[in-house]
């Protein structure tokens, strides 16, 4: 079995995440509220992080406002889950056709050390042209994941390399930034495509 090796930024991620969750809970739900919505991503308008997209432009949560968005986390050294998610999403986008012309579709790396802007640019070029690839510094990645309530962790593999455990859900946001729901990993297309369509028709 792989032994999880939480490295510094993983630990930092959980620390910031815990803090963000606490602050979020305190502000949104207040003490004594029965169910703090711990897993719900913040609205994009309340997130704060800065990254670089595949074209070298500076981007962040506010870049996404004005159009509905699909956002998910992953890394390009991921042989199984990530290419599957990107190809699933490419398939959904193909099904939706011109309806998705203005939609933001963003793949955020949890492994910016290996996933440079150039690496992300090459990787996303193999999938649906609407898919963007964002990478940031380690601390900006931590801030982004905290906003989305996503988690990730670096794990050593047999050959002295490492892989990343990470949230594989796909997040949907309205054009004004509200979180509208998730599409879980491996959710069949019959469910995923109508969900996206609902987000689009809201806009």
């Amino acid at each position: 079995m792989n032994r999880s090796t939480l490295i510094t930024y993983g630990a930092a991620a959980s620390g910031v995440l815990a803090l963000a969750l606490f602050v979020g809970w305190w502000q949104v739900d207040g003490p004594g509220t029965p169910e703090p919505a711990a897993q719900r991503p913040l609205p994009l308008t309340q997130m704060k992080f800065q990254m670089t997209d595949q074209d070298g432009s500076t981007v962040g949560p506010t870049t996404l406002l004005g159009n509905p968005s699909i956002v998910f986390f992953g890394f390009t050294y991921c042989p199984d889950v990530c290419p599957t998610t990107l190809s699933d999403i490419s398939g959904w986008l193909d099904d939706l056709g011109d309806d998705v012309a203005d939609m933001n579709v963003v793949f955020i790396t949890v492994d910016p050390k290996r996933d440079t802007v150039a690496a992300m640019a090459e990787y996303v070029s193999y999938f649906h042209p609407a898919i963007q690839g964002w990478s940031g510094t380690l601390s900006e990645t931590t801030r982004a994941a905290a906003g989305f309530r996503a988690s990730y962790e670096k794990v050593a593999t047999e050959g002295g390399d490492y892989t990343m455990n990470h949230t594989a859900s796909v997040f949907l946001f309205a054009s004004e930034g509200q979180f509208l729901g998730t599409i879980d990993y491996h959710e069949p297309r019959e469910f995923a495509v109508p969900k996206i369509r609902r987000v689009l028709t809201r806009a």
Binding site: M1, D80, P83, S151, T157, N165, H186
Partner: protein, 154 residues
């Protein structure tokens, strides 16, 4: 480069053909729908998928993989927990009961191809040897599809 790969492939085929191997069960394994995705360079690990069907009357157990494509092939399993977090770990031995099928498919079991020796090029194939607990081995040619492939049909 090419010729050394061919030599390795040839050598591994010879190895499979050695008459000293006596098997009990693994000769009844049929591999179907094998596929993999093209790689970007050789730094990232690859993954291959297939269906193992045991047409025999004894259980067979897949214990390991070999391929000239990758120095460290291993069977992995991806799991996704209740919070939606996906992780991947060596799956250990895979038992295929008689008459049953085990699928290596995206998001579940996969042949993890670590330390690629050569780039996986769309349209090519590579040999992957499955080693079984009874000493038997089966080499399959795995087609390499595009990076965005979703299944054996592309």
């Amino acid at each position: 480069m090419k010729s050394s790969i061919a030599a390795t492939v040839f050598a591994s085929c010879l190895f499979i053909g050695l008459p000293t191997i006596t098997v009990a069960g693994s000769e009844d394994v049929v591999v179907e729908d094998a596929w993999s995705r093209a790689s970007i360079g050789i730094n990232r690990p690859g993954a291959a998928y297939m269906t193992l069907r045991n047409t025999g009357t004894d259980p067979v157990t897949l214990v390991g993989l070999e391929t000239p494509l990758a120095m460290m092939p291993d069977i992995h399993e991806t799991t996704t927990d209740a919070n939606g977090v996906s992780s991947m770990a060596p799956a250990g031995d895979i038992m295929v009961p008689p008459g049953e099928t085990v699928s290596l498919e995206p998001g579940g079991l996969h042949a993890m191809l670590m330390r690629l020796q050569i780039k996986m090029v769309e349209g090519e194939t590579f040999p992957l040897t499955l080693n079984f607990a009874d000493g038997g081995a089966l080499t399959v040619d795995v087609p390499i599809l595009g990076i965005a492939a979703r299944g054996p049909e592309g």
